[in-house]
Symmetry: C3
Subunit: 157 residues, 3 copies
């Protein structure tokens, strides 16, 4: 059986984790849209204050930062600094044929840590809470990456 | 035949779409360079206003944002919020063995939507136009991701 | 032997290069944390100036940009504009079955160019030095991507 086949349960675990984090990341873009519509502002390009069907009553103030929109942009940037690297590290990790139990703990653990981080950031919990949740995800990412590197160097059987 | 083989037409379709969007993304970096050279400004690091061969006549104003440069930076950030996720979603989608027709519509449709979005953003079309083109790409991405997730969960034959 | 098997030396080369750049990218996040702790500032969310165990003596000035923190954020953003695309271009390039020698020069050459770029940016070398190192990496990325596209189009045997 090939490694990258959905009948391989380790790969299927990866695909489930990967598609959930992709949907989570894409949801941030739509959440930004929702909040820009509600705030009727927080836009970013000069042409966004031109009169259009969706913006019948434009105003230069619509280009000023809106904290509710900026919060989602910060969450989205935080995602960008982690998720693409996780998606790669996870894929390469799966190709080193780890046990299903280990793969599930690491991959689903990462997903859980990011969803909890999102909830904490969205509701403006303290920096300490957010940092703790972020660290869990980052340590899982580092562990998978180092283990994969060691396997590629032939230092991990 | 393996899934990830260029003789597999579905995979070849993915590789063509993926390499085009990568080249598009890399082109944004070079376009930023071109516009910084033309504006002789829009730089971002304090050391960029030191006297060098490429900047013989430095000036602190070179660190101020230049709208023509910032426009490309906004396009580049918009790419970052979508393209890496598309590249993953497309790869995993291809591994679920979709039909060639569906793969072509979705993958090339995404590429076309992003190139049109770029043209609209570069020429400062209205927000409505840009939003419509962005939405097409985002919906294709969501469709591919959800279908792949369902396949991994065994809910899609 | 499968393409994506660590016993394939071309793929092992890719995995080594990929895991090194992922670890490099993740290190930027931790370096940001280290510098925020040292500066006791450079925070980004309003809730970060709430009194907590890790921030017993909060101050609104902690939300002002700190150049030592901002420098790492700029490096991290520069990584984001390149590394995910490199990770994909490299993976797809490996699937076109290049020679081991070529793969090593390109993949390790890219890693070396990025580590040198990091050293130059961190120590605030001139823009000319940074631009030269960035260009080496970008040209390697473009070469791998174009060659892969030609292979997918059947134009490269």
């Amino acid at each position: 059986m090939e490694n990258l086949d959905l009948r391989n349960p380790v790969f299927a675990t990866y695909v489930i984790a990967a598609t959930i984090v992709i949907l989570k990341a894409v949801a941030m873009s739509w959440l930004t849209v929702v909040r820009m519509v509600r705030a009727n502002g927080g836009f970013c390009a000069p042409e966004d204050v031109r009169k259009t069907t969706l913006n019948p009553d434009p105003n230069p103030k619509q280009l000023e930062p809106d904290e509710r929109v900026e919060r989602i942009r910060r969450i989205q940037l935080n995602d960008l600094e982690s998720l693409p690297y996780f998606l790669f590290a996870g894929l390469l990790f799966v190709l080193t044929a780890p046990s299903l139990t280990l793969a599930r703990w690491l991959l689903y653990g990462y997903v859980a840590s990011r969803l909890a981080h999102f909830a904490a950031y969205l509701t403006a919990q303290t920096h300490d809470t957010r940092a703790a949740l972020w660290s869990v995800g980052s340590l899982i990412l580092i562990f998978m990456t180092v283990r994969t590197l060691l396997a590629a160097l032939g230092l991990w059987v």
